[in-house]
């Protein structure tokens, strides 16, 4: 019983983290059709910045500062790299973001060195006890922020005027332009939001996970699984997929024999691709 409860709750916490990492990717993918391979590398950069700025008196201030920094970074990436290639084949954007990931990784290696770094002592100690399961507070906070980010992004895209403009611009660029929407501006905002949310989780993530230059590789792969599973570009789908992936990971690790537990997520992924290639929530926001 306590194995199940522990696996269930830590799966949900994992899901919250996966949401936080994936929704930005889903947003950029969904509304812009841009496959951003540098998403993980940008998360890595956000984590290093979180460690560098250190304690600003309150972790919330660090969060807001990092959101600003990463949103600006997202905007710059869009204006400098994506926009010039926006009308080209998707392969170009894919190569550009892949190139950016390589540059960021090597720059981090050069500037921060190769040793893993973290801030486990950032002052969020102890665990939440619930039905016999122990959930470290920093992971709980991380998951809560992930859920909050997901809801906020979803509301932003579906309810706000800017969100509707973003969707309009992504669905029919020409029509959007004709109706007076500044397409380039709204897409830059979408990119800034998608990357900016990475800044919100970085200050918490460095308390549970060490950062090294190649950290992005690990996250970007799982984030892509979540985005594709959810139905490319659907924020709601990504949220549901994150829960499925998180639970599959922890329940698989607890109950499946040997290394089968590690493969569970990938087996699930292959099955979904075979039987529902458009993803769980394909073609919806």
């Amino acid at each position: 019983m306590d194995v199940f409860v522990q696996a269930l709750f830590s799966g949900l916490l994992e899901a919250g983290l996966l949401m936080a990492v994936s929704v930005g990717l889903a947003l950029v993918f969904g509304v812009m059709g841009v496959v951003n391979f540098a998403h993980g590398a940008l998360l890595m950069v956000a984590m290093y910045v979180a460690i560098e700025v250190g304690d600003l008196g309150s972790i919330w201030i660090t969060m807001l500062l990092l959101f600003a920094i990463m949103a600006i970074a997202g905007g710059v990436v869009y204006l400098a790299l994506i926009r010039p290639a926006y009308h080209l084949d998707h392969t170009f954007q894919l190569l550009i973001t892949l190139g950016l990931a390589v540059v960021l990784e090597n720059a981090a290696l050069l500037y921060f060195g190769a040793q893993p770094r973290s801030r486990p002592d950032a002052g969020i100690d102890g665990s939440l006890r619930i039905l016999g399961a122990a959930l470290p507070w920093n992971r709980v906070a991380l998951a809560a922020i992930g859920v909050a980010i997901t809801i906020a992004l979803y509301l932003f895209i579906t309810r706000s005027e800017l969100g509707q403009q973003i969707r309009a611009a992504s669905q029919d660029t020409m029509a959007a332009q004709l109706s007076g929407i500044s397409v380039q501006k709204v897409l830059a905002v979408a990119m800034a939001m998608g990357i900016g949310v990475l800044g919100l989780i970085a200050p918490f993530l460095v308390t549970t996970t060490s950062v090294s230059p190649t950290l992005g590789d690990r996250f970007v792969l799982l984030a892509f699984v979540v985005v594709i599973l959810g139905g490319a570009g659907s924020i709601r789908g990504a949220a549901i997929a994150a829960v499925i992936v998180g639970l599959t990971e922890t329940l698989g690790a607890a109950y499946l024999p040997g290394t089968l537990g590690l493969s569970a997520v990938w087996i699930l992924f292959v099955l979904v691709l075979l039987f529902r290639p458009q993803g769980l929530m394909g073609n919806r926001v």
């Binding site: 306590d2 194995v3 522990q6 696996a7 830590s10 799966g11 916490l13 994992e14 790299l81 010039p84 290639a85 009308h87 080209l88 170009f92 190569l95 550009i96 190139g99 950016l100 390589v102 540059v103 990784e105 090597n106 720059a107 290696l109 050069l110 060195g113 190769a114 040793q115 893993p116 770094r117 973290s118 801030r119 486990p120 002592d121 665990s127 399961a133 122990a134 959930l135 470290p136 992971r139 549970t208 996970t209 060490s210 090294s212 230059p213 190649t214 590789d217 690990r218 922890t250 329940l251 690790a253 607890a254 040997g258 290394t259 537990g261 590690l262 493969s263």
Partner: protein, 407 residues
């Protein structure tokens, strides 16, 4: 218009890729003098284990600097040429080949991941170049019949035996008696080999393996696995986790209020970055093949020189790199003037190496390779105390008393 955009897009890609190449090149090493004796080092300087590669590179560089300041090898400079394998076996083989055939190095050393080491050993065998392996611990490396491969680091079964010996010993020295152990290993060949070695050592020591759980290296959320291990009745955990996951495991144990010995192989725990855990690090005891506190003058001198030069504590990997450099120096000297690769290999097969530098690792003073090309230094248990790894076991190499948990 569209043609121009296409060109601009392509130009951006080209610019990004070349920028990354320039950055990557800055990481490498170059230059060298005419008549230096060159030795090739194939290690991970980028990729997921670049952190370990950095320690290793510094170990070689420090030894090179000392050796050359002290007159080199019979008046000639010793120079290490570095090749980056980034954790990839094919790249490792290519780098080794380039170093031997183009750069004409007289010997090879390095690699880290056992998979890479294995293919570099095959390459060295083909090219008849002596290859000194100071890191990888997979058993297969010395069980494949290689005659040019010489490993200074003990293989996994000896690490496993040290863990079970320690579990027995600590029960008589204030610790809790342990009868049941649980395994936590990754799903790679390394994890499989570790699990097999742990099972064998446990059986030999009269311990029961009650459960085996798996993880993906890099995972830090291990509470599902840990809860299963606790339910199985395990009183100690033998793991194959690398540093990232080991730190996650220690945090998980703490969050579950479960206080049991957790051990893994070498720098999977015993590394300076482990102290990022703060208070949680204290008391953790795990295996290492070297500790700066062991009673050995040359070893202490090395630790101080390393700290002075790099402003960081050395790891066992750095110590093994440094010792390998001195071993190579001694082998070349023993092989005689103008020694070629064949003469150096033959010296490594037959001679005993007694220089201080080559014996900063716990050998007891003499390093010698058996017929399989394996040397037999001791494996130690080190315990964390306020930012220092103290050697606590075996007693012959202990610098501090073991502090049982809760004590």
């Amino acid at each position: 218009m569209s043609g121009m955009r296409r060109t601009r897009g392509a130009w951006k890609v080209a610019a990004l890729l070349s920028a990354s190449l320039v950055l990557a090149a800055c990481n490498g090493d170059s230059g060298g003098s005419e008549d230096a004796i060159e030795v090739g080092v194939v290690i991970p300087l980028s990729g997921p284990t670049a952190g370990v590669g950095e320690y290793i590179q510094r170990g070689y560089e420090l030894a090179q600097e000392e050796i050359n300041a002290d007159g080199g090898i019979d008046g000639r400079d010793l120079e290490f040429k570095f090749g980056d394998h980034a954790g990839d076996p094919a790249t490792g083989a290519r780098e080794a080949r380039t170093l031997v055939q183009q750069d004409k190095v007289v010997a090879l050393t390095g690699s880290y991941e056992s998979g890479v080491t294995l293919v570099v050993a095959q390459t060295a065998e083909q090219l008849k170049a002596p290859y000194i392996v100071p890191y990888s611990s997979a058993t297969s490396i010395t069980e494949s019949g290689f005659t040019y491969t010489f490993r200074t680091r003990p293989p996994l079964p000896e690490w496993a035996k040290t863990m079970t010996d320690f579990l027995t010993w600590q029960a008589d020295n204030g610790g809790q008696p342990v009868e049941k152990v649980g395994l936590l290993v990754d799903g790679t060949e390394y994890g499989d080999t570790a699990a097999a070695a742990y099972e064998e050592a446990a059986q030999a020591a009269g311990l029961t393996v009650v459960d085996k759980r798996t993880l993906t290296q890099g995972d830090t959320n291990l509470s599902a696995q840990m809860t299963q291990l606790r339910n199985s009745g395990a009183q100690a955990i033998l793991a194959s986790t690398y540093l990232e996951s080991s730190m996650g495991a220690i945090r998980t144990l703490d969050s579950l209020d479960w206080d049991v010995p957790y051990m893994t192989v070498g720098s999977g725990i015993v590394a300076p970055a482990f102290f990022d855990l703060g208070e949680l690090a204290n008391g953790v005891t795990s295996t290492t093949s070297w500790a700066s506190t062991i009673d050995n003058e040359a070893s202490k001198k090395f630790a101080e020189a390393y700290k002075a030069k790099y402003d960081a504590e050395p790891t066992d990997d750095a110590a093994y790199a440094y010792a390998a450099a001195y071993l190579i120096k001694e082998a070349i000297e023993k092989a005689g003037e103008d020694a070629d690769a064949e003469a150096i290999a033959e010296t490594l097969r037959t001679a005993e190496f007694t220089s201080e530098g080559a014996n900063i690792i716990p050998t007891g003073g003499t390093l010698k390779f058996d017929e399989k090309g394996q040397a037999h230094p001791a494996i130690l248990m080190a315990q964390a105390e306020d930012g220092v790894w103290n050697s606590v076991f075996p007693e012959e190499f202990a610098s501090s008393d073991y502090v049982p948990s809760g004590g």
